[in-house]
Symmetry: C2
Subunit: 131 residues, 2 copies
Amino acid sequence: MTKNNRPPLTQLVQRGELMSADCPSREILLHMTSRWGVLVLMVLAEGTQRFSTLRRKIGGISERMLSHTLQALEGDGILQRVSYPEVPPRVEYTLTPLGQEAAEKVSALADWIEVSVPRFLQARADRVRKP
Amino acid sequence: MTKNNRPPLTQLVQRGELMSADCPSREILLHMTSRWGVLVLMVLAEGTQRFSTLRRKIGGISERMLSHTLQALEGDGILQRVSYPEVPPRVEYTLTPLGQEAAEKVSALADWIEVSVPRFLQARADRVRKP
DNA sequence: CCCAAAACTAACATTTATGTACGTACTTAC
DNA sequence: GTAAGTACGTACATAAATGTTAGTTTTGGG
């Protein structure tokens, strides 16, 4: 089954080969395109936000998932976390330059989807008519 | 918990509101940005492909997942499936116009990630140095 | 005759993602 | 004095994604 007829890893890290199963780009893609990752990037594209603000702006996200998603993105160097030693606690999240570029691409996709929703719904309706 | 302080659904379907938990755009986004959905779109952007070709080009995908992913995208009107009654069977998958636009956006993101892999790795290395 | 090829589907097992509930520590507002 | 806000971590439970294996059907090749 696993015939491993792929280029060597040293070659992969140079540019990133998404089609290869074990390229690190796969994981980054996963984080950015995760269920909540996309939405977090979109909101952070507006500017620095704190935890509770993100939670409120992103409908349906739980605190646990927001926390996990933020940690994954921070781990990829996409955003930066800054906590202030106050009471009640305050923590702010900001996109890094790398993250800003990421957010641009993701937002472009998301915006296109939002605008195209009617076309998607229409396509679905057509398929119900004549399947 | 669920306070439901969101705009009415009738308003959502007009343009798509990704930040609202129950907007249909959420599901479309999920399909397009799914683990394999992105890669399928990228390969189909090259042109019509048959099942086995997709399977070979996308490293690590199983037949089951390819099948499921293709069905989801077909259900959204992103691609079209055409099967020829031959033996052995032949089935071809082609992007619809809607799917071609989708593939453009997704590919733009994917390409950016591939090119940016070195920067991601660098960022990770930096964080190990000074966490 | 036996096996490979194609494009799957079904059944089952496992892993991952996500949700829920609870706790924390201190402050301000009511 | 009592509740709420803040940014989580932890434990547990469930849902969803993904993988593995086996089977199908018919033709052509060795």
